[in-house]
Symmetry: C2
Subunit: 422 residues, 2 copies
Amino acid sequence: MSLVVQKYGGSSVADADAIKRVARRVAETHRAGNQVVVAVSAMGDTTDDLIDLSRKVSGSEHPREMDILLTAGERISMSLLAMAVRDLGVGAQSFTGPQAGVITTGAHGRARIIDVAPGRLRATLDAGEVAIVAGFQGLNQETQDVQTLGRGGSDTTAVALAAALGADVCEIYTDVDGVFSADPRIVPSARKLAHITYEEMLDMAASGAKVLMPRCVEYARRFNVPIHVRSSFSGLEGTWVVGETEGDTMEDPIIAGVAHDRSEAKITVIGVPDVPGSAARLFEAVAHADVNIDMIVQNVSAVATGVTDISFTLPMASVAEARAAIEADRPLIGYTELVSDDAIGKISLIGAGMRSNSGVSARFFAALRDAGVNIEMISTSDIRISVVTRAESVDTAVRAVHTAFGLDSLQGEAIIYGGSGR
Amino acid sequence: MSLVVQKYGGSSVADADAIKRVARRVAETHRAGNQVVVAVSAMGDTTDDLIDLSRKVSGSEHPREMDILLTAGERISMSLLAMAVRDLGVGAQSFTGPQAGVITTGAHGRARIIDVAPGRLRATLDAGEVAIVAGFQGLNQETQDVQTLGRGGSDTTAVALAAALGADVCEIYTDVDGVFSADPRIVPSARKLAHITYEEMLDMAASGAKVLMPRCVEYARRFNVPIHVRSSFSGLEGTWVVGETEGDTMEDPIIAGVAHDRSEAKITVIGVPDVPGSAARLFEAVAHADVNIDMIVQNVSAVATGVTDISFTLPMASVAEARAAIEADRPLIGYTELVSDDAIGKISLIGAGMRSNSGVSARFFAALRDAGVNIEMISTSDIRISVVTRAESVDTAVRAVHTAFGLDSLQGEAIIYGGSGR
């Protein structure tokens, strides 16, 4: 008997029929002899509707009350799903995050799970019933208040439940068939990956692949929870996100995929004194504004002038705050001009195999050159190369790189499946 | 400094503007130097909408899950109201029934409050903040599940909070100006009562006056909580529901008002053997079907036949169940025919003064006779006379009785305010 945690997102439970469809899958999994725990998001647009309603009532921030408000969404979907499962003759009970023992800490609206006390869920499973748990929420034990986890929270709930219960798999049901070697809307020949490592998935997610949020993958890696990303519509085998792939290392792919991201902007600070500490002052100012930055490039200083330019990328939504913070500290930083640019895109090539395979960078840059794509910034890790380009070059760049690494599904497998040397 | 509990129903918080209006009243009450606890219902039609949604998902009964579903409604209204109060510069926090310490027992969907542990509310008040509590719900400590209280539950929540906190008053805000001597839609000259005793209010409520539910009045009487029923729109002084009126008993009204009820039906069981135990068998059958009955009349037995007829009234919605139960036990009861009648109405005259004033019944029946209203059943208590008539006679009967007892607001007060003799 396996213990399976399943997570269904808002689009999988968008209406009464969708809830009944999910219920059939839950009941089938239970009838197949598994113990089943389900983490569920709010139905369709419920969360957005509640946010809209709150804006009609108040123009201010009320984080504690907003979390209470938003958690009504999962309360509705989880109880309805439990009813639908019970109608199929399978015992089921729904539990809020606090009832399920999900303990959180941190700020309202973006809390973190610090522990799961799964006693009540375990008792439900032991009684032969399905436990249906509200995703996206938990109890802050200090304040005894409910908190929400922020974006991707329901996936994280599912992984945390799987970890706490020692589940055999955490199935994340979504509206796509799995993790692809590139966005199929840009690259129609993109292939579904049979498996991908936690590290690759983390870099894919951080580079713009939206199928999983980095925090959920990070949690899974920490507790070694196998994730199976699959479609709630097709029933096909999806993509397994796991630790280092076992078995024949000859079959490890060098490259997992190509990710892209058009949600970032670039800020360039011109004429920064090229003395120790000036970059530190700049990024302290940005950090105090609670802005997350991604790539950073500092130009080679012109010796004659003694000043340099610093560029960095950040979420488009944070540009105004970052600019304000930098301008406020202008006397301290001492720059001459501040420029921001929303029209950028980022393309990233990800693959654990590039650790031990030379020539990956060369092939990557050659592909972009041949496609006529101009590179504005470069950043690399041991399993990733990322470049910033003009936003309008992103599609061309993704297709060119995808083809150059033999990822198109009609091409041979020679380049993808090379010896990794590990 | 007074401690005021205020209760706002669904129509008082139907939309964002209504919530902001309620927030202003809450903030005013707080600014006037009072400690304020608010019990709030779900917005407008939310509860009905959630019930409709559940019916799309499931045709079966799932009491535990239904309670989880429905409590999402108060979660939304309470958090929005807290935001709106905070926007007015008054500290406020919202609490679910379980968080507020409301402890329930009994069946899902119609649980009863058995205790309130007001520690968290008291701390909120001590911190100078307003506590906003979800009505209609509480925690069953044995199962650790949320339960709803059924109809009128939010009023009962408010009274229970007032009792637990030793509040000076429990203000029930509604869409009418208070308790009237009759339904103003039938009797335009009906007067708003300045005060009414718990007992009178209990009988008014049990006789069809919809402004308060009997269970809430019963709770208030038990803990001697003064209730002030008033309009959430007008700001006028409403009706005080209190214990025995203090002061000059010369001013106690004999009659509080005339209530009517068109929601009942009558079942007549014909040809029941007139032997000991036959009525008991009949009503045991009905009780096992969980049907509440109201009035009972047994005809004088015709000595020659040795059989009698028994009539009783019950909620219209329970007729089918009651009939089925009686038919199932027909061999045991041994009747000849079973007849039900939906077209009845009940008119009740209520007043604590009738205990010590003779002639009330005579005046009541004379008024009905003069109005040409035929009486089918009669039932009395020490402070109430009720009759069953044809449904179409209800309006005529209510007006005739209201006038006969001098309750019309343009008449003198001579008859209403008589010496009570107590």
